[in-house]
Structure formats: C-alpha cells, structure tokens
Amino acid sequence: MAAITCSNLTKKFGKTTALDHIDLELEPGRIIGLAGPNGSGKTTLIKLAQHMLVPTEGEILIDGKAPGPETKAHLAYLPDRDFLPDWMKIDGLVKLYGGFYEDFSRETAEQMLTNLDIDKNMVFKKMSKGTREKVQLILTMSRKADVYLLDEPIAGVDPAARDYIIRTIISNYNPEALVLISTHLISDIENVLDEVIFLKSGTIVLHENTDDLRTRMNKSVDEYFREVFRC
C-alpha cells in the first residue's frame, strides 16, 4: 500500500488555490524530494497530511487511512520553524517525546545528542538557532515512524549543519519508511533522493526517479529544477 496517496487533492484559501487537484502515490522505502519555490504548496501538502488543514476537495491518505490520531502515531513531522515548548530542558523534551510517541527511541535520541555534545540540562530557548534545529531534527528522526515529513530541514543552515542533517536522515533511514523532504534548494539534497516531485503553483509538474531524470535530461536534477522554475 502507498504510504501517502493523494487523489484530486485540492486546498483553497479564500480565492487562492494552494493545491490544485493533485494526484500522487508515494511508496514506502523511498526518500522523496518535494521541490518547488516558496508558495508553491509544499507546506500546504504537508499540513494536509497531518490534519492541520482540511482539504477543500479530494482526499489524502496515510497508509490508506485519513489523517488523525492513528496516522499521527506513525508519522514524524519536522515543521519549518521552532515548534517545541521552548521553556523545557532538552532532557524534558526527550521525556515528552518518549511519553507521547510509542515509536520514539530515547537511546537513539540520547546517543545523537551526546555525539553533538549537546547539554541535556540546557533550556531549549537558550540554545543557538542552529542547535535548536538540530535538536528538533534529532527528536523527529529518533522515532521509528512509517512516514517522515521534513519541511525545509536545510533552509538557512550552514554547509556543516547541512551535511549533518543529511547524514542523520541517511543513518536513521528505515527501508520500510517513506521520507518526504520539502525544499527549495534541490542541489543540497539531490544525491540523497530516490524520487523528486516538482510543485509549481499548486500543481505537480514532474514526479520522477532522480536517476532516470538525470539520464533523460542529461543534467542534474538541480539544473533541470532551475530551468523549470526560471523566473
């Protein structure tokens, strides 16, 4: 069964159409890039998968089920902003995740925090932006989820942090899970992707295997991306 299925999925905000009759099937066991400029509907699609938005038309299914408590229990979502209760210590956040998510591995999280020399007694709010982003990624990737939704995990981070993020995604990769990474900077992650989806003004203009795309167009995914989205 597809990990994410969208059929005729449409989301309108007043008169603006954020997603326009999308049909999509994403299989488990793949790392898929959701690429498009800002405002192309990437975050809208991800929020629909989490029932943070309700479709105007059509539907989105996670493992065949409508988004709800059951799907959220097996879906790890990394929003594109700080989203944790920032008055808590890292230690408290790890406990919080462990309490709420059955698929959360405290050992994995603590190992990764130790590797980065992050002090678990530190209050989240008092850490640098880069460290906060890493903590959020660590907590998200320490879950053994069926679907990972990573919204712009590499936007605005330095190259070292970007490499760390990519390594973390690869090292926690579960062959049965779907990893969907939204980005407007495809070059940074294209080597990691099995498939890529180009989203333009709420419609899918391309959904292809990255190696096939490279062969077919005789250029990198990034080069092709820049061509499609040239303004």
Binding site: M52, V54, P79, F83, L84, P85, F100
Partner: protein, 267 residues
C-alpha cells in the same frame, strides 16, 4: 493520552503558578508572625505596609496569572508556534481541547484553595490556634444550620459554579479560535470575537430573562424559597437553569472545535 496531556499542562502551569503560591503562603505566614510577635509597632512600620501591599498584589496575581495562563495555553500553545507540536500528537483535537479545559479548571481550583489558605494562614499563625476551637465550632454550626438542611440547594449552586467556570473557559477558547482565523491580527481578532460573542450572549440573555417564570424562578432559586411559578417547582427550575448553561457550553464548544479542528490556522 488525556492523562499525559494534562500532566504536560500541569508542568506548564506549575512552573509559573507554584512559585507564586509559595511566595504568597510564605508571605502570609510572615504577616501572621509579625502580627503575633510585634503587635504594637507593626501596623505603623513601613515594611509591614509594604508586605501587606505585596500580599494583596500576590493574591490578585494568582487570579490574573491563572486567567492569562489559561488563555495562553490555548492561544499560544495550541494555536501558535507550539501548535505544530500539539497537533502532531496522536490525539484528536477534541482531546487537546478537553485537556486544556480541565487543566484551566484544575488550576482555578488550586488558585481558589491557595487564596483561601493564604487568608486563613494570617489569622491562624497570628492567633496561634487560640481561636481554633471557636473556629471549629462555628464551622460545625455553619454546616449543621446552613449546609445540611439545604444540601440539594448547595449541590445545585456548586454545579452552577462549575458549569459557569466551564462556560467562561470555553467561551474564551471559542473567541480565540475564531480570532486566530485573522492571520497577522490574531490578538485583535480574538478580542473582537470575544466582544462579539458577549454582545450576542447579552442580547439572548435579555430575551430569556424577560420570560417571566424564569426571572422570578431564578430569584426563588437564589434564596431557596419554595417556588411555584407556572407550576414549576424548585427542582424543575434548577434543571431549566442548568440546561440553559449547558446549551451555552455546547454552542461554545462546537464553535471552538470547528475553528480549531476544521479551520485550523496556525501561525
């Protein structure tokens, strides 16, 4: 899951309210002690006046901080940035809302208890239990003469108090959920939504209270005098009053749920 959510709310409230409670109770004890040991000059001492002032401020801040926290646990935690975390948890939106409502009620109860305790503490410490036996007798009398014969009435008013508290909380949640639809002007939107809700409520209330038997009936209920308005006896009137409040709660709950679950608009 509800238990875990409430445990999380306990931490979020507690880290701010518990220090205030401790400060308040400590200050109450200090006031009591100074009244006991330094009776002559204490009342004129500038520090004593200052302490009394601080005591009153702390008492008030229990009320204000609890109210602001209760609002912010919905407005900020659920519908703000942290909403991305809260709405990713494997629970229904309604469960989140229940956890917020129950927590607000629990901390209102805590605040009330601590407030009374702080007031009581001053006198208990100051008079070192000399009045204790009298106090106990008075309490016993109060129970025997007032509470016991009117137990049904007392239960009714406690139920009313609880339901009104729920109404107040859910009304704020509905206003906040509606107001948050206005991206970029959430706070203003919430205030306007609250004012709007209150206006509609006042209009409806004035229509309802113009119904004769209800107007008279509530008065009867208030003083627990035997009523027989249009054949409505006390307990029937009580049910009508409770039902009216319950309907309010349902309406606000549905409004809050609709704008929180179906039309969520996170920052």
């Amino acid at each position: 899951m509800l238990r875990k959510l409430i445990a999380y709310e306990m931490k979020a409230y507690g880290r701010i309210l518990v220090p205030i409670y401790i400060a308040l109770l400590a200050l109450a004890a200090i006031l009591g002690l100074s009244l006991k040991f330094l009776p002559e000059w204490t009342t004129q001492n500038v520090f004593f006046v200052f302490a009394v002032l601080l005591y009153i401020i702390l008492l008030l801040s229990v009320v204000v901080v609890t109210t602001l926290l209760a609002i912010n646990r919905y407005y900020g935690n659920l519908l703000g940035r942290e909403g991305y975390f809260m709405f990713s948890l494997p629970v229904r939106s309604s469960t989140l809302m229940v956890s917020k409502t129950l927590s607000a009620m629990i901390w209102t109860a805590f605040g009330t208890i601590v407030g009374f305790a702080a007031v009581a503490m001053v006198s208990i410490v100051a008079f070192n239990g000399t009045d204790y036996i009298e106090f106990k007798q008075a309490l016993h009398m109060f129970y025997k003469e007032i509470i016991s014969p009117n137990i049904g009435h007392v239960i009714f008013w406690i139920a009313i108090m609880i339901l009104v508290l729920v109404t107040v909380i859910v009304r704020v949640y509905a206003a906040v959920a509606i107001g948050s639809q206005w991206s970029g002007h959430r706070l203003l939107g919430s205030v306007l939504a609250y004012v709007g809700i209150k206006i509609v409520e006042t209009i409806i209330a004035s229509v309802i209270s113009s119904v004769d038997f209800l107007k008279n009936g509530v008065e009867h209920l208030m003083w627990n005098s035997p009523a027989d308005v249009n054949g409505f006896t006390n307990w029937r009137l009580q049910i009508v009053v409770l039902a009216i409040i319950a309907v309010q709660i349902v309406i606000y709950w549905v409004l809050a749920w609709y704008f929180t679950d179906r039309r969520l608009n996170l920052e």
